[in-house]
Amino acid sequence: MEEALKGRTLFDQAWPLRWKLPSVAALGQNLRPDRFQNFKRTVLALPLDSSMAMRTRLTWEQEKYLRNYFGEKKFCLLYKASVQEFAGQNLLYKCQDQGPTMVVVYSEKYVIGVYLQEGFQENKVSTTLFTIQETGLSPCALGPCLPLSLFRYEETSDFFILLDKKTVTISSEIRKVLRLPSLSGDTFIQECEAFRCDELLDERKTRGIVGLCSNLLDALRNYKPYGDLVHQTRILLLGPIGAGKSSFVNSVKSVFKGSITHQASVGCDRNGISDKYRTYSIMSKNDSGPLPFVLCDSLGLSENEGLHTDDICHILKGHTPDRYQFDFRKPITPNHPNYIHDPLLKDRIHCVVFVFDINSFNQLSCELVAKIKQIRRDLIKHGILHLALLTHVDSLTWITKGDLLDIYSCNPVKVKLGVFHRLFGFALSDILVVSNYDSEWQLDPVKNMLILSALKEILYTANGFLEDLPLNK
C-alpha cells in the first residue's frame, strides 16, 4: 500500500531532453519467461513529433492562484496549441463534453484565461475571464456565454480568441477589470492550453484514502516490536518549544481513538507547557489494551531554559520516571525518589523523533541549532536511530487540504525540506511531514493518512534499532 502514498503531479514531470533511436529493439519480453521464445526482432523508427511534450506552462504557484479562486481543482491538460495545431476545431474536438473547462492563453507578458463552468456544450454557460500576474489572479465575470462565441470574431464582442490568427482581443473596459494595460488592438498569443477542471478530492479519491487509512490502522494495531524484545516501543519526541510535540501526541491518540482528544497539554506559554516527562500509551478504539508503542513527551529545547542535555541522556537510557518534573537548571540524579536505577531495555528509548514547526525551524537561533546538532551527533555515537518530523504543514503558505494528498511533491514543501536538510543534515527520506489536529472538532482522512504514515515510518525505524542491538545489552 505504500505505493499509494506517493504520486506525481503534472508540474513535477521532468520531460527528458534526450531521446535515443534504437537500431534494434528486442521486444516481446513478458513477465512470465516461458512465452514467446521465438519472438522476432523489429526495427523501430520513432516519429519526431512524439518528442513534443503535452505539458502545461502553468507553474505550481499559478495553479494555486487558480485553485484559490475556482476551488480545489486538478487541471487536466486536454489541448495544447503548439502540439495540436492552432485551430479552433481541434480545441473543440478535445474539449467538448468534458465538464468544467478552462482555456488559458499566454502572450509575451500575460497569462489570460476563460473559465467555463459547464464546459463546452451547446447551451450558454457561466463564464469568467481572468488574468494571472505576480500580484495574483484578477477575475472578470461575464455571465452566461455561448462557448463558441469566445472563439470567433464579432464586432460587438468584449473578448474573443482567434486561434488561427494567434490573437486575443479584449475591450478596454474588460482590460481595466483584468488589470491589463489599456493597449488597443489585438494581442499576439504564444500558446493556448485548455484544461478539464476535476475535483481534486473527489469521492473516488476520498474513498481510496479512507481505505488506505484503514489499512494503516490495522497494520499499526498489529505492529510488534522486533523480536518481541519489548512489549512497547518507546519513541522520544524532542524539539524546540512550540514545535508541536504534544500536539502530535494528541493527533496520534485522536486517530486511534476515532475522535479528537486533547489529553497531552498543548499551549503557547512562553516556557512551553510540557514541563513534565510524560509517556503516553495509545488506546485503540475497541479498548483492547494499549497499543505496543509509547510516545514520550518532554520539555522543549531552547538555548538556556529548555531540556537539559544531561536529562536527555537519562531519558535515553531509561532512568527518568513517568511524570518527572523537569528543572532546566538541574538534571535528574540517582537521589531522586523515583529514579530508575537499573533500567531494562523496555525502559530505554528506542527511537528519537526531532519535532519542528515547518514554518519556524529556520528562525531558530544559531545556538539552538548547534545544540540540536550536538544532540544528534550524540545519538549517532550511541547508535540510536532518529527521524525528523515537520509539523503544521497545512499552515505553510499556499498549502491547502488537497495538497496533503501528495504533500512531498508540493513546491513549498520541497523547498522547506531542502532547507531543513542543509541546516540539520538529515537525509531527505528521514524528514517526515504531518499536519496535527489543532482547532478541528472532527477527524479528516487526509490528515489521518499523513499522521499514520509518519507513525509507521517511526515504528519501523525503532524496529531497526532493536534489530541492531548488540547481544550484551
Binding site: 505505493e3 535515443k20 529493439a25 513478458n30 527520506s429
Partner: protein, 479 residues
C-alpha cells in the same frame, strides 16, 4: 472562422475514471512515475471511433482501458494515438488485473503492436499474435485466445462496461524505458531468487563479508540501507545517514541482511566503515585497512583518525579464521565527484587498493548517485549498456584503481525517495551479485594453506560442518 457547430446533446455525466485511487496509483507506478489524464470515456462521450480520435490524437502516449465485470484489460501505447482510418505501429504494454484486487498483481507484457482505427473499431494486434478489438458503438470487445491466455483472463466477454483512454505523461519516450519499467518487477524477483540461493564458494565460509570503503558522503551507509530496503520491500533506516562536517559513520559496523520472505539472514554481510578524508589524521586511517581486511577488527569498533589500530586493542587472535576476514572490498564513490577527487584522496584509495590486492581480497567499485539509473542496464536488464561503461567516470575509476569495467557497478541509493522502485532494486541486486562473484573469485584463488589452516584438512567434511555450526552461532549473535 469556420468552426463546426456543436452537435449532440450534452450528457449530464461527470468525466471521472472508474479506476479506484489505488488502481490509478499502481498503474502510474507500472510505467515509472507516470501521470494519467482521462481524455475519452465511453459512457460520457460519443460511442464512436471518430470521437476517440478527436479526443486522443496528437496527445502523446495513451493508455486504453476496458472494464469488464470482474476484470480490466488495458494497453499502453507509446506512440501517438492514430487518426481515424489509419494505423500505427508502437511499443505497447498489455496488462490486465482483477477489479479491486490490483494489489494481488498485474499481468503485463511489452509487445510491438499494430494499432488500427477504422469507422467501427479500434484494433490492437501484436506481432506475436495477441488481438484486442473495441467496437464502441455496441460496447463490444473481442479478445482472441492469445490475449486470454497470456494476460491470464478468466472469461471471454463480448460486452464491456466502459472504455477509457488516458494520456500518459512523465515517462521517457523510449521503447527500452517502457520495457524496463514493465519488466523490472519480474527481474527483481529473479535477482532476489538468485541471491537467496547464493552459497559462498565451496562453502568455505558461511557468510561473505563485503567491506564498504570510500570518501565521506559517498553513500556507503546509504547503500547499506538501500540493500536492506530492497530485501525488506520497504524503506529501512538502520545505518544512520545524513550530512555533517565529517563522517556520520565513525564505527566499524557489520550488518547482516534479512530476507523479508524467509525471515532468515542471507549469507553475506555488509561492513560499513568511517569515511575517508583528504587530510592526514582525518577520516579512516589507511593503516587500519589491513587489520580490517584480515578480520582483526570487531563489530562496533570506534575508529580514531589520529591513532591506527594496534593489535593489543583486541582479544582476537593475530590470524583470525577465514570467516572473519573481508572477502570483497567495494570502493564507494559518488559518480558526481569521481572526476574531482583530490590527489591526496586518490593516493589513499590507491594505497587501499594495494592492500586489498596484497590480502587477496576481491574488489569492485560502486558508483552512487547515478541519476540516469534507468539507463545503466540494457533493455533485458542483463548487462550494463555501452553508454554507461564508456562514461568518463567509469574510465577514470578503471585507470585509477585498475578495476575491470565489469566490476565498476552503478546504483542509485534510496536517499530522498519514500517508496521503493523495482528498477532501483534491480540495480542494487545486480551490484550485490557482482560483489559476491568477486568474493567467490577471491575465495577460489586462495592458497591451499589458507583454507587448510582453518579446517585442518581441506577435504575433511566434518570440519566444514563445524564451520557451518560456528557460522550459525555467529549469525544468531548478529541478529
Amino acid at each position: 472562422m469556420n468552426m463546426l457547430g456543436l452537435r449532440g446533446s450534452y450528457r449530464n455525466t461527470k468525466v471521472t475514471t472508474r479506476l479506484t485511487w489505488i488502481e490509478e496509483k499502481i498503474l502510474e507506478k507500472l510505467l515509472g512515475n507516470a501521470s494519467l489524464t482521462l481524455l475519452y470515456q465511453s459512457n460520457v462521450h460519443k460511442r464512436c471511433t471518430l470521437e476517440m480520435t478527436k479526443k486522443c490524437s496528437l496527445q502523446g502516449s495513451t493508455m486504453t482501458i476496458v472494464y469488464l465485470e470482474q476484470e480490466v484489460v488495458g494497453v499502453f501505447m507509446l506512440e501517438d494515438f492514430p487518426d481515424k482510418d489509419s494505423k500505427k505501429t508502437s511499443t505497447c504494454a498489455w496488462f490486465s488485473f482483477e477489479r479491486n484486487k490490483i494489489s494481488s498483481g498485474i499481468s503485463a507484457l511489452v509487445l510491438n503492436t499494430l494499432v488500427k482505427v477504422n469507422s467501427t473499431s479500434l484494433q490492437m494486434s501484436s506481432i506475436s499474435g495477441l488481438t484486442l478489438i473495441v467496437y464502441p458503438s455496441k460496447e463490444g470487445l473481442y479478445l482472441n485466445e492469445a490475449v486470454i491466455k497470456n494476460l491470464e483472463l478468466n472469461v471471454k466477454q463480448s460486452q464491456y462496461l466502459e472504455c477509457e483512454i488516458f494520456r500518459v505523461d512523465g515517462i521517457k519516450n523510449n521503447p527500452g524505458f517502457i520495457k524496463k519499467m514493465v519488466t523490472a518487477r519480474q527481474h527483481r524477483g529473479k535477482f532476489l531468487s538468485t541471491l537467496r540461493a547464493y552459497r559462498p564458494y565451496a562453502d568455505l565460509v558461511s557468510e561473505v563479508r563485503i567491506l564498504l570503503v570510500g570518501p565521506v558522503g559517498s553513500g556507503k551507509s546509504s547503500f547499506v540501507n538501500s540493500v536492506k530496503s530492497s530485501f525488506q520491500g520497504r524503506l529501512t533506516r538502520q545505518a544512520i545517514v545524513g550530512s555533517d562536517k565529517s563522517s556520520i559513520t565513525t564505527q566499524y559496523k557489520v550488518y547482516s541482511i534479512k530476507d523479508e520472505k524467509n525471515k532468515e539472514t542471507l549469507p553475506f554481510m555488509l561492513c560499513d566503515s568511517m569515511g575517508l578524508e583528504d587530510e592526514k589524521e582525518a577520516g579512516l586511517c589507511t593503516d587500519d585497512i589491513p587489520h580490517i581486511l584480515k578480520g582483526c577488527v570487531p563489530d562496533r569498533y570506534q575508529f580514531n583518525p589520529r591513532e591506527p589500530i594496534k593489535l593489543k586493542h583486541f582479544t582476537y587472535a593475530a590470524s583470525p579464521p577465514l570467516k572473519d576476514r573481508i572477502h570483497c572490498v567495494a570502493f564507494v564513490l559518488d559518480i558526481n565527484s569521481v572526476d574531482t577527487l583530490s590527489d591526496k584522496m586518490v593516493a589513499k584509495l590507491k594505497k587501499i587498493r594495494k592492500d586489498v590486492v596484497d590480502c587477496g581480497v576481491g574488489c569492485v567499485a560502486l558508483l552512487t548517485n547515478v541519476s540516469d539509473y534507468d539507463e545503466v542496464l540494457d533493455n533485458n536488464l542483463v548487462n550494463m549498456t555501452e553508454n554507461m561503461t564508456s562514461l568518463n567516470q567509469v574510465q577514470n575509476v578503471r585507470n585509477m584503481l585498475n578495476i575491470p569495467v565489469a566490476n565498476i557497478l552503478m546504483v542509485s541509493n534510496y536517499a530522498s525517495e519514500r517508496m521503493l522502485e523495482p528498477l532501483k532494486d534491480v540495480l542494487i541486486f545486480a551490484a550485490l551479485q557482482q560483489m559476491l562473484r568477486a568474493a567467490d573469485d577471491a575465495l577460489e584463488d586462495l592458497p591451499l594453506e589458507d583454507t587448510a589452516s582453518d579446517d585442518g584438512s581441506f577435504n575433511n567434511s566434518s570440519h566444514i560442518k563445524n564451520e557451518g555450526k560456528l557460522g550459525e552461532v555467529k549469525r544468531r549473535e548478529m541478529s
